[in-house]
């Protein structure tokens, strides 16, 4: 196996937080779906620095997915401001959402086509991207011939094909088995590092958040807003079993439970 070029390509700029421009800035965002119903999000503030990996956790219905949709530009907030450094953030769903009539490579190529990449380049670029997610030689396969983990990696390659500096992920690994999920955690960490992406990762798996994020943001429910956040100082390489990951997950879970039980009173 050849040495990966990432070591060479890694950006050399200093990464003190203060100097990094924001990739995503959410300011006082509220979202009301129906008049008279409580807002899904209320006065939510969140800033994601360029190159940062932020995990959003919270109970079901805390508006995590709504927030991602807003950042992705698929919906407009009722009030507040959202600015994103990338013109069009890439978004991955819980389902791979691959188009079943296309091959793995065809799915990636469609994203390139939407970006206006020429026909000749598309094939080669798709091949390169599939190599990035360790799917070299699988490009000609149809979606139904791929396992769940492989599909999600094709979806990741498709998201990378958007060439956006911001990657939004909506519980992308929730439907996978634990072994595959572990492997993809590492894969994602590597891709994030190599490509210098800013990632907003939504999950309700607290341990996953502690494993992946540089920062974990806990959202409260009804209305959704930031309750608390943690800077994650656990050194890489991490695994889901890393001591620090477990300890942090315990702490976040305790806070999450406190937040959830507030609603039962």
């Amino acid at each position: 196996m050849s040495t990966r070029s990432a070591t060479v390509e890694a950006p050399a700029q200093p990464r003190e937080l203060v100097q990094v421009p924001a990739a995503v800035r959410v300011e006082g965002v509220s979202q009301v779906f129906e008049r008279g119903r409580p807002p899904v999000l209320e006065g939510l503030d969140l800033t994601v620095a360029a190159g940062e990996f932020v995990c959003l956790v919270g109970a079901s219905g805390c508006g995590k997915s709504t927030l991602l949709n807003l950042i992705a530009g698929l919906a407009e907030p009722t009030s507040g401001r959202i600015s994103v450094s990338a013109e069009r953030p890439a978004l991955m769903f819980q389902e791979p959402a691959l188009l079943p009539w296309l091959t793995a490579s065809g799915n990636v190529e469609l994203a390139l086509r939407a970006r206006g990449v020429g026909r000749a380049e598309r094939r080669a670029e798709a091949e390169r991207l599939l190599r990035v997610v360790n799917l070299e030689g699988h490009g000609a396969k149809r979606v139904h011939e791929l396992s769940g983990g492989m599909r999600q990696r094709v979806a990741l390659a498709r998201a990378l094909a958007q060439d956006s500096s911001v990657l939004l992920m909506d519980e992308p690994f929730a439907a996978l088995d634990a072994i595959t999920r572990d492997v993809l955690h590492q894969e994602l960490t590597r891709v994030w590092t190599e490509q210098g992406l800013s990632v907003v990762f939504v999950t309700h798996n607290v341990r996953e958040a502690a494993r992946l994020g540089q920062r974990v943001v806990l959202l409260g429910s009804r209305p959704g807003r930031v309750v608390r956040e943690w800077q994650v100082d656990i050194p890489h390489p991490r695994t889901i079993e890393s001591l620090g990951v477990g300890a942090l997950a315990t702490e976040i879970t305790r806070e999450l439970h406190r937040e959830i039980s507030r609603h039962g009173q």
Binding site: A10, F93, L110
Partner: protein
């Protein structure tokens, strides 16, 4: 000590070793998940025994019963001719070129009629999908038309267009267009909303989403509609040909059937029916079945 930059980004050199291991595990998982190659389908011999032989055996039995009934003289022979008589008539019709002429006439009418229905039905289906109002307004009528036997249009068509090809095409269109429009509409309605979101996330324009996402996603339903549309077009065509008989019109299979009736020639009637059935089955087997199989295979939707 682990090398990290100030913001907790993994030190690249150190992650590398974990990554190499990770990739190995990943490749192993991929290989395991992909599973062993599926056993090849049954060989030609097995396939023959499984799917070609049974209908042949059944057909032979049917002819046997028919022959027995004929030998027992259950009915006079002008009502129930024997299989041999019919076979003779069939061969005669094929030999003097009447069969080929009738098949050609009907098939070309069918193709033209189906082609027109394809264009009109597809546009109508798209329009109904596009406009909620239009769907509400004409949806029930289009669905209703599907259950109206198109032979009911023949008298009207003859009054409008006399005994002409226009009358025949009118009946074919009224038979096939609703199926095609409804098939496309149904296919479009079944497209998961997630696919459209994918198109939007990827930054495809509205037109691009229709072309690259929506229409391909609707293809299986659309194909079902086309298949049914062809069946209805063929039936309608036969109904129309059976009634619109005129020396100025080309002689199709329906007209051949009508000649048999007028001459009280049961063997010609059965010959015509056999030809009509054969053409319908041939189009189904040669055009629609392979097309559908290909589309479903690609998407992994084939039932075994």
């Amino acid at each position: 000590m682990v090398s990290e930059d100030s913001r907790g980004r993994p030190g690249l050199a150190l992650v590398d070793r974990g990554d190499v291991e990770n990739r190995a595990v990943e490749a192993g998982l991929d290989a395991l998940d992909a599973g062993p190659d599926l056993p090849a389908g049954p060989g030609p011999g097995r396939r023959f025994v499984r799917s070609v032989l049974p209908p042949l055996v059944f057909l032979a039995l049917l002819v046997g019963v028919w022959e027995l009934a004929y030998l027992a003289e259950l009915k006079p022979s002008y009502v129930l001719p024997g299989p041999a008589d019919v076979a003779r008539k069939f061969w005669e019709t094929v030999q003097d070129g009447k069969a080929a002429e009738a098949i050609w006439t009907s098939l070309s009418r069918g193709a033209v009629g189906f082609g027109m229905s394809l264009v009109i039905g597809s546009l109508l289906g798209l329009a109904m999908w596009w406009s909620r109002w239009l769907r509400a307004a004409i949806g029930p009528i289009v669905s209703g038309l599907q259950s109206l036997p198109s032979v009911a249009w023949v008298p009207a068509a003859i009054i409008w267009f006399q005994l002409s090809n226009a009358a025949i095409y009118t009946v074919v269109l009224l038979g096939a267009v609703p199926s095609i429009a409804n098939g496309l509409l149904g296919g479009l309605k079944q497209v998961p909303p997630l696919f459209d979101r994918v198109g939007r996330v990827l930054g495809l324009s509205a037109l691009g989403r229709v072309r690259f996402v929506l229409l391909p996603a609707a293809l299986p339903g659309y194909l079902g509609g086309l298949r049914q549309g062809w069946a209805f077009a063929w039936r309608s065509l036969m109904a129309a040909e059976l009634i619109t008989y005129s020396p100025t019109l080309g002689q199709g299979l329906g007209q051949l059937l009508n000649i048999g009736r007028e001459l009280s020639q049961m063997s010609l009637v059965i010959t015509s029916i056999t030809l009509i059935l054969a053409v319908g089955v041939a189009i189904e087997l040669l055009v629609f079945a392979p097309l559908e199989r290909r589309v479903l295979n690609r998407r992994g939707l084939t039932m075994r």
